[in-house]
Symmetry: C2
Subunit: 217 residues, 2 copies
């Protein structure tokens, strides 16, 4: 199996799911989080697209154009991160099986592992940042988006939140094994900051949508 081919955006989602479900080293939790973030971000675009040009929301047309353009960029970046996550995982999975019989081999293995771990940790951190940016767009859509598609803001924001949390585990599993603890703590701190910044805000958006829908029930 060619893992880069499998990560191509030309695969069907059914094939993507099958490869994810298989023993294949990639995609894994990082790619799954990035795709979920991309789905949540696509819902930002959808809500903006269905608000633009509606007389009732004319005052927000410029905001919607800005949100749409930002959401399209974020979705492309998250799609790209699915591929990048697969690319950085490949050297890491190879490093695990390097020999460590002599002291020299062990040293070399440690060096290669450390480098691979550092590269592998950066991608889920990027995924977290992009999904967090999409949460901010949903926050704005909650106020300015068409009420006809308000449930899609709720779905979108909860998917982006899951993407942030899912990707955070992929930062932590890589930093856990780093020997350079200063660098590891710095990345963990970055991840914790994004979690602190985004989770509560996502919940507020979701709960607002939920209350709006349940008011009549």
């Amino acid at each position: 199996m060619n893992m880069h081919m499998d990560m191509d955006t030309n695969v069907t989602y059914d094939e993507f799911l099958k490869t994810l479900a298989s023993k294949a080293p990639v995609p894994g939790g990082g790619g799954a989080s990035a795709l979920t973030g991309a789905i949540g971000t696509a819902l930002c675009s959808m809500v903006a697209n269905l608000t633009i040009g509606k007389r009732k929301y004319a005052e927000y047309d410029k905001d919607m154009e800005r949100i749409l353009s930002k959401a399209e960029a974020l979705r492309c970046e998250l799609s790209e991160l699915i591929k990048k996550d697969a690319e950085v995982f490949e050297p890491l999975s190879k490093a695990y099986s390097l020999p460590k019989e002599t002291e020299e081999q062990q040293k070399e293995k440690d060096r290669i592992m450390e480098e691979a771990l550092k590269k592998a940790a950066m991608i889920p951190l990027e995924i977290m940042k992009k999904a967090c940016d999409a949460i901010a767009l949903h926050e704005e859509l909650l106020i300015k988006g068409s009420r006809l598609v308000i449930s899609d803001v709720g779905v979108g924001v909860i998917l982006c939140k899951a993407a942030v949390r899912g990707a955070s585990l992929n930062v932590f599993i890589n930093t856990k094994f780093m020997k350079d603890r200063e660098y590891a703590c710095k990345l963990n701190k970055d991840a914790e900051d994004i979690l602190a910044k985004s989770l509560k805000r996502a919940d507020i958006v979701f709960e607002s949508v939920n209350s709006e829908l349940c008011r009549g029930n």
Copy 2:
């Protein structure tokens, strides 16, 4: 645009995301939730696949075979629900634009709308049930799955949780407009029961994984 073609599992995930992001009536939040549930469920299969046959986990081989078989079935069902969600939304979106100039037209529109809403609400409820079943598989994988892929259990469970919550909004938006309040309340109750049953359990699995990963940090 042929919406059924777009919902085919033969579309690339990039095309799926583009159609989701567009003005097209489907897919929407329901399909997005089902796909996220399918991604989270694929991670059940992956963890089971990477645990089966490992000497260290030999005692769980039979459990893993059972979990794998159940996860594969759930993923297929969730994929199928992406298509079904698109199918039930079509008559609903057509019903919205029926004429209501005469009393008779209004009555007929109400009748068609009610029927379409009832059909449309059933699908996200099914999505919730399937994603909830996948959360139970992740609960078991947390105990019995290979520690090497424990982060994927955490990612999988948080994606399934998001699928349950996302789909719940799609139940509530349909029940909100039903005239048959008894039926609406029954569906809302079913959705609330699944939320009550699954969210807390998903959080416990996620937090266990999170603590396991952060112990060394």
